[in-house]
Symmetry: C2
Amino acid sequence: MDIARYEIPDAGTPVACRSCQARHGVVCGALSSSQLKELGRHSLRRKVEAGSEIVAQGSESSFYSNIMRGVVKLCKVMPDGRQQIVGLQFAPDFVGRPFVRESTLSAEAATDAELCVFPRSLLDRMIAETPELQRSLHDQALRELDAAREWMLTLGRRTAEEKVASLLYLIAAHAEPQTATSTAFDLPLSRAEIADFLGLTIETVSRQMTRLRKSGVIHIENFRHILVPDMDALERVSA
Amino acid sequence: MDIARYEIPDAGTPVACRSCQARHGVVCGALSSSQLKELGRHSLRRKVEAGSEIVAQGSESSFYSNIMRGVVKLCKVMPDGRQQIVGLQFAPDFVGRPFVRESTLSAEAATDAELCVFPRSLLDRMIAETPELQRSLHDQALRELDAAREWMLTLGRRTAEEKVASLLYLIAAHAEPQTATSTAFDLPLSRAEIADFLGLTIETVSRQMTRLRKSGVIHIENFRHILVPDMDALERVSA
DNA sequence: GCTGCGATTTGATCCAGATCAAACTTTTCC
DNA sequence: GGAAAAGTTTGATCTGGATCAAATCGCAGC
């Protein structure tokens, strides 16, 4: 198999993926060392900047990726332009839809990110040969399904304030805690993206952020940097 | 393994599951005939009536099921009683959350239904031994994930009328078509359940149903029986 | 057939969040 | 360093769907 055949525009350095060889992650944690080596030979480390599309909605993708660093948003767009973010993925998640070529959603880097990109055909073969890998991907799919259903509850039944608090809580839970109770992080999403995640408008998101700030549940610095002095308090307002 | 150990209250007739032996379905289609026989020996055919709970939110379930007949709704409830239906499952879907014992949602029969119930420990062993079964369940999980994400778009970005039309379209798509364009079916959900699926109130659901009826997109008989003369028209108003 | 009850529809009013509009803040790029 | 552009906040007003209230329908039980 020749890596050039799989080269994608602006694909980055064709080096074996060190992080994969460290066996972390949904895919690489489930592979034997010879499989890791083979995957490494056909992988491209690719830096993508915030906003660039990884997979387009409606397109057929010949690639899967592992997220090495950064945040990826999964997005659905209606013909008239209405838009909904249907998932957020963090390192070391796997990006791609096994078994179906055509994507019903787009994947886009929400922050600057680093991916390990490899050909679909190769991983599909490894999935078929490696029950442990199938299990690992099955497990990720089930975790994503749990998360999606939790978000359905948020979208359908929570108020605007609860929605914003829930999203902040979700993101904070992926950041390093500062102390036992407090956490600080940079929001990976703009107000517009938050609105698209929560089924709100940017104005409503902004107003609810202000509300949370005035009530002391969060501190905001420079729009993007958030400090949560007490995670329990944030959880409480997210209902 | 003794089936009595797994007996559940009011569990129904302990007969081998004929339909499973016919190899249809997510689970049974992936098993060898000896596995089918073993699963059959430990299965209970169980009739459940509309409204009865199959798995309770927050409980630990020792059972999985296959849906033989009927519709099952997956539901999340907030401490204050707000409620969201997060999935509908039809025969021959598999019901249960592999790998995690505690359920974060409840499963409830939406219509009178018939299930094939069997012990978690047995299927977990078969999953570990049978890549084909893992694959089949992985595939169902991914289909459910696609569906969940489609509903996130509906919940977040569609209007009340589009929501109601989308749900009718979804259910109609599971019914036998009458002619090339028209379909008739009995709604498996009450107005209250529809509201809980769509993040609306029963009054809004009722008004939108009336609206769709007055515009000729659907005909309603006896509250529950729906005729869709033109599926394309219904799809159009669901945006 | 009458009665009572749950499910549904219909009507009147209210309000959370959308929309429209403008100011302000930060970043980008000459 | 300054101007334009992009992102965010704030304010005024509107509206789709919620809430409150009542009538109607269909069915189970007597």
